[in-house]
Symmetry: C2
Subunit: 374 residues, 2 copies
């Protein structure tokens, strides 16, 4: 059967060279309050930082094309961003765009087109109409001239898996074994499919993610590879924080396993913000929810974590939550700069992004470098 692993494709680590990054313009009224205006400075900062390093494809719906062009023009970016006019249901490129894989002998790059059901479909999905989101990966592969591997028989979001590029994948049980995704498949079968589609040999199953993460605890909010054999884990020393037991379980697991190369992992603890970041009534007043869409409540704790960073070719875009978390923010910058001395750490205001339901990593999808036109 033709599939990425069979044809010799694999998913490089995000830290490996990129040809480009794909993002999506924030439009959904139930995710981005006040027409996404409060989040726009964060988006502009991300776009600018990516463009300093690599190509940026920005997907925008035909309805918002004019507004998007206006914002890019005002930011001096209109000439530099490559706009792709395609309808979609929300801005989470990590979860709705293809997961790109590379054939190292030919340098060919192709996309894996997973089934997307808005993080849980009828069980606990976040919105009811996700047809455009599910179609997006296929449309992108066609438009950008990349081959497509059909994985529409398997529900997955890109944010629920990390790859070290050397045979090891990182996921959470909380997400991948959730009822709303692939309930008919066993854990072993799920692991086997992941390896087949991403050209990997071993899956590391963290038990949990970040507290109150509405993605059923995507791995990309709690743990990430800095390079093969080395990971960063969201952490807290506060035993009264519900995050404590979750991170502790993950650490215990990581200390108990080896990767596909037989290595024990070096795990760096990256403290979560010292103060909970919560949604306010003002935020809520700016949303317009569609029927069947998951709503929020004032005071609800958001899943704030510094691990939801993104590697461009030469930098790390690191979330910052501001306000009373200024010290936590600074510590995260300092630690990441220590652990990634070869990169420039770029702090990005992210409070308005997590109001939208995700963070920098969720909003980005890398296209790895290969023998490609991009």
């Amino acid at each position: 059967m033709r599939n990425p692993e069979h044809d010799g494709y694999y998913m490089p680590g995000e830290f490996a060279p990129h040809a480009a990054t794909v993002m999506i313009f924030p439009e959904r009224p139930g995710s981005w309050p006040y027409g996404a205006a409060p989040a726009m400075p964060s988006f502009v900062k991300i776009w600018e930082s990516i463009l300093a390093d690599e190509l940026l494809y920005l997907v925008v719906s035909p309805e918002k094309l004019g507004a998007c062009r206006e914002i890019l023009r005002n930011a001096g970016l209109l000439d530099r961003v490559t706009l792709l006019t395609i309808p979609q249901n929300d801005a989470w490129a990590r979860d709705t765009c293809p997961t790109f894989v590379v054939q190292p002998e030919t340098g060919d790059v192709a996309g894996v087109d997973w089934r997307f059901n808005a993080w849980g479909g009828e069980v606990d999905g976040l919105y009811a109409d996700y047809a455009e989101d599910n179609a997006l990966a296929s449309v992108l592969c066609h438009n950008l001239g990349y081959g497509r591997f059909d994985a529409q028989d398997f529900v997955l979001e890109g944010g629920s898996v990390h790859s070290d590029g050397e045979g090891t994948l990182l996921v959470t049980e909380a997400c991948l074994l959730s009822e709303g995704r692939n309930p008919s498949l066993s854990r072993a079968q799920i692991g086997e499919r992941l390896c087949r589609y991403l050209g990997a040999e071993k899956v590391l199953w963290l038990p949990r993610g970040i507290y109150n993460d509405e993605t059923n605890e995507h791995v990309d909010n709690v743990c990430a590879f800095l390079r093969p054999g080395e990971a960063v884990l969201a952490w807290t020393d506060d035993k009264t924080d519900p995050q404590y037991a979750m991170s502790a379980a993950d650490l215990a697991y990581l200390e108990s396993v080896t990767d596909a190369k037989g290595r024990r992992l070096t795990v760096h603890k990256l403290p979560v913000p010292a103060h909970p970041v919560c949604i306010t009534q003002h935020d809520l007043d700016g949303f317009t929810f569609a029927p069947g869409e998951d709503e929020r409540e004032a005071g609800e704790r958001l899943a704030a974590s510094y691990v939801n960073f993104y590697f461009t070719n030469h930098s790390v875009l690191l979330p910052q939550f501001g306000g009373e978390n200024a010290q936590s923010d600074a510590l995260a910058v300092k630690l990441m700069q220590q652990w990634c001395p070869e990169r420039k750490v770029i702090p990005v205001p992210a409070r308005e992004l997590i109001v939208g339901g995700g963070n920098i990593h969720c909003l980005t999808q890398q296209i790895p470098a290969g023998k490609t036109h991009a």
Copy 2:
């Protein structure tokens, strides 16, 4: 059965208001010699003229995106053109993009997605691999958020039909009854399908098109509506020219019929260039042909006609052939300005376009104004 006519959609005349024009970047090595460099000034002139009046969507393949952006940047147009990155097989937007129809009560605009077989498929098609061209209309409707009417059971190119927007269509028998398109359908069945898909009542069947036109004589090279009840016909008074009998047969037909409103048509004669425009050995040396692609011979007469013009919202982009046809060029400008006093006639150098195999009308596709976002 759901189809445009059933749902109250119709194809407005090209002279009716547009929301936008779609074009495609010229890339095919077998159509555009020397990397399309000689034709590029003509393209830039067309793009500029359209942008003065309406939105311009420019489809470009991922492989040529960088080169296209560079050309647009140098022309000062990069900020103004909306690029759509989509693979395709050639630049004839008229023939491969959807034919757009409007529902006048709701203002909704939708696209008709005809089957495209490169002007004749295995019988006398011009190239063998046209899969991306045939997929383009569907992709465009999706990307731009327009509904799509599926007419993939019927081979048609947009250049083979004109609409007056008041129930009358104009076609040629030479093209629509050709062996390479819909040989299993009778003339009556073809007319019935055209009316159903374009919301029309009556088809006027001109016998012929322009001499040596490799599209099997598309109507858009020989005859066009200036407004309802009024048409322009490519003409010659030179009885030794093979075009004479063809144009004479068309004129005789047009003088013998009434349109859907019962009107006799006013027909203006627009003289073809006085001197044949021929392909040269230098042109031929610049082509690279693919297997199965139709090739040309030095000295072959090209299907030069001034009728292959395009209406933007306030202008007419009129082909000019230059050289020894300077007088014919000037006459065409003068006549069109007389017949269309409400429009600005913009002369566009077109010799390098017909080397590519078509002309301004073939390269453009209007999206009519409606209650639309565009």
